[in-house]
Symmetry: D2
Subunit: 293 residues, 4 copies
């Protein structure tokens, strides 16, 4: 039986880990808050005390944590996985983190002979549970080959973005930009439609069945229509983190992105108005407020 370590048992990590277990992978878990591991333990996983314990039990670790700080803590931090990792070990970072951090971490991993792959995912917790994630992966070819079956246990589609791990983090933040930009343009269109006296439901039907039948438009269009910014959401604060990451890297790449700047300002307004805990599609509320609706 194959084994693996898994770090980060949040709303995304837990169903992803469970899908590995369903596919006969024996998991060793680490989570800062131990309680969150209890359901997976009852299903057969084993909890360890520190990230560094994982590479003493397996040579493959997946991590899915909230941000740069958390990823640094479990890797290069005290009792991090780099303390015990050896040549031949593989660490698959699946978090949405900064390309710069992945670049720096890869250098640290290499010093120990560990291979760092980056494999961020698109999809919400429900998609994670149903094994419908889209996974983008980059890094060293042999390690990718080894890891590929595991990624397929977690996601519906896996896309390969070459040999340089941090590049795929640019893909992830560009993708998140496109999602939120879709919310903005849908919100502007719906505000116009509604103030023009057109039935928004009919407009949504046309868009989702014909003009723009992507899951993003269907899903967020429905949320807008129903003013549903709470349930099963992706928190505004996390969205703000991602757009900030994008703008920082666009700044380094000397790429002006005016719609991204606009989204940044929408998010600032939303946070200033204490909507940080709503789903990030709640930038829609600002669009409608600006239209006096």
């Amino acid at each position: 039986m194959t084994t693996a370590g898994f770090i980060g048992l949040g709303a995304m990590g837990t169903p992803m880990a469970r899908n590995l277990m369903k596919n006969k992978v024996m998991l060793f878990l680490y989570n800062r808050t131990k309680e969150k591991a209890s359901s997976l333990i009852s299903e057969g996983a084993e909890l360890v005390e520190s990230p560094k314990d994982l590479f003493t039990k397996t040579s493959l670790i997946f991590s899915m944590v909230a941000n740069d700080e958390a990823l640094k803590a479990v890797t290069v931090g005290p009792k991090g996985i780099l303390e015990t990792g050896k040549p031949g070990c593989i660490h698959v970072s699946m978090s949405t983190v900064s390309p710069t951090l992945i670049h720096d971490l890869q250098i640290e991993h290499q010093k120990k002979g560990i291979t760092l792959l980056s494999a961020p995912v698109f999809g919400r917790p429900d998609a994670a549970a149903e094994q419908r994630l889209t996974i983008c992966v980059a890094g060293e070819a042999t390690a990718k080959k080894t890891v590929f079956p595991y990624l397929q246990f977690m996601g519906q589609k896996v896309f390969d973005f070459g040999d340089t791990p941090e590049k795929v983090n640019c893909v992830k933040i560009a993708g998140n930009f496109l999602i939120l930009a879709n919310v903005e343009i849908l919100a502007e269109a719906f505000a116009f439609i509604q103030k023009s006296g057109v039935d928004p439901q009919a407009f949504y039907t046309m868009l989702s069945e014909s003009l723009l039948p992507s899951p993003v438009v269907k899903g967020y269009g429905k949320r807008l229509l129903e003013r549903n910014f709470k349930e099963g959401g992706f928190r505004m604060e996390l969205g703000a983190k991602d757009i900030n990451l994008l703008l920082q890297h666009a700044n380094l790449a000397k790429t002006p992105m005016p719609v991204a700047s606009l989204l940044h300002n929408r998010l600032l307004t939303s946070l200033a108005k204490m909507r940080g805990n709503l789903d990030w599609s709640a930038i829609f509320v600002s669009v409608f407020e600006d239209a006096g609706v």
Copy 2:
């Protein structure tokens, strides 16, 4: 055998008229430039001298012309269809024109007892030829019922937007906004991706197969990737007309649309740089120029 009139034999009108003929509709044609009717005449249609001749031969007319001025000319202008239309006649305006014009024309049609339906279409000439247009229709219910089979001869999907003709023109310009806004956000994302050293083709594959698999993203993403702004295109100048229509009506509806304002400025730059004859997706060029690519 059923009959109908058809006004406007441009890149869109010609294949739309042909699809009616393929479905056993005997067509009477009017076009300002007679030569453009020749192929359809050779296929069995009959040309008339003036728009007003059409309602002497049939009680149903479709029109597909370039702009407000052209539609006014063939309706309320000298020798326009209102000179001969009678109670029971139906005029289906399929052009992308101003909601205000449709509102005003409806009043003029009503004075003669003619029913005006508005039925703008989404799709390019190739989609028109292959009967794959999306048609949005609004107007009086009985007339819509009469016209519905004809619309199905021309389009794959027909969406009903209620009783008020001009409302569906708001839908059309909001839809065009969403299409061009997709070009903008794709262009920003591609500029970032390219300047970050990621393979744009791989990014496109991921978007079109997983994250945003709509025809708009697939089609325009491909154009961007191939720097193809010419073939089979929707001219920038017409796009500028449509975004201007949108902004005028958003102004009336007191709805700020910042991304639409951004698109307006992109189009102005494109026209100022003499790109008015390219496909409107060439606003992409400005996005890349701004990024120094």
Copy 3:
């Protein structure tokens, strides 16, 4: 004693007319609402029934009306001044109207041999009362020479913009843009300063005494500081008219003006939120709302 006609006795026109009278100009007045002329009549002016009566009593008319429609009405409309004007007559249009209208009106004036000068003003009613207006003038040279002393009765400074009347209307709308743009950038700076915990009064003092000591910054900065958007104001609705004029002409001139687009959206939000009667500096409120203040 010299004579002149004066059309338009609003908040601006009345003090301007009074300053002509103070300088020994006998005035014949026309105003749509007769009551507004009463104070000037008590000071010695004479009221006429229709605009056309003016050119029967004098060969020089000044007009200061609210918008394009009003200026059309008193010139080319029924009983307008063009009905009686003769070669040698001069009409000085001082209103903020569309360059296109002035272009068209000049042609109509020329047909009658009347010279049209355009001479829009910068300044609020208090500046008009105190003869502190800035007046920009354009048109035929001899007529300008004749009119120059009269303009100096009304304004502190007169700037000559050449021979083509409508050009100076571009100057006026560009100037209004700069004023409102100053409100926007001041508002953004004050929002940042306030949310950073800096004393806004100290910031204002530094700006107005050192960094940006223009009357615009001093005046609007004070309004922002005092949240005073009512008294003696320039109504938001008129400001929206002016920015619309600007954007229309920038569109014709194929000049993208992103800050003007932003102002347009601020004004739409303000109108949508029923602030149309406040001073146009109330776009400041939107800036602060967006910052959650």
Copy 4:
């Protein structure tokens, strides 16, 4: 005779130091590149080896360095002034640096009993040479009183922003924003004016003599008119640093600043197009390029 230390002999620091010397202040100098001190040494100043040497010779140090890194190096870095500073010593930081850095440095200074004042300046090298700088100061009251005469040797006006040093750095970056925002709006107005066929020189005269007679509008308006983006300039790259500082702090303060976002994108375009060495008013070039001029 009074003494003081001075760190940072760049284009600004050198004339500022010279003005202290002209006012009978004996200066001890530190600069990373020793050669830059030669002219002041020939005028009577004394050079030291390390920043830490300064507080062994005087209890008052002024610093004027390029950025956060440089200020950290000369204070908390090895051989920095904190190694030798004692209670009663005063350090006046005059650089444009991050409010966060000043906040952190103040804590470090306090640990040694040193008082940190922040006193950033507005003005270019020519203004520094002519003692025409505007200086904004914040920090502990007694120390400010001590330092005040020295600030007056360097600047024309000194504005007090209270007790918290880092607040005045918010003032500085907000002020720089207002300056660059003035360039943007002037550039938009000039582009419109020029494309409308109006004489830009006449427009400039009217603005600088009447509507917006501030040094910023006069100075930058002249640069725009003359397409002079080189001589005596403030480098684009430094301007980009300042707008980045502003956006970072606006982000922390949850304050959307859409014109600042626009400026950020203008600067990115300018850097991407290799204009980083021009005066920052060269964002004007982008405005004109967008207008096809």
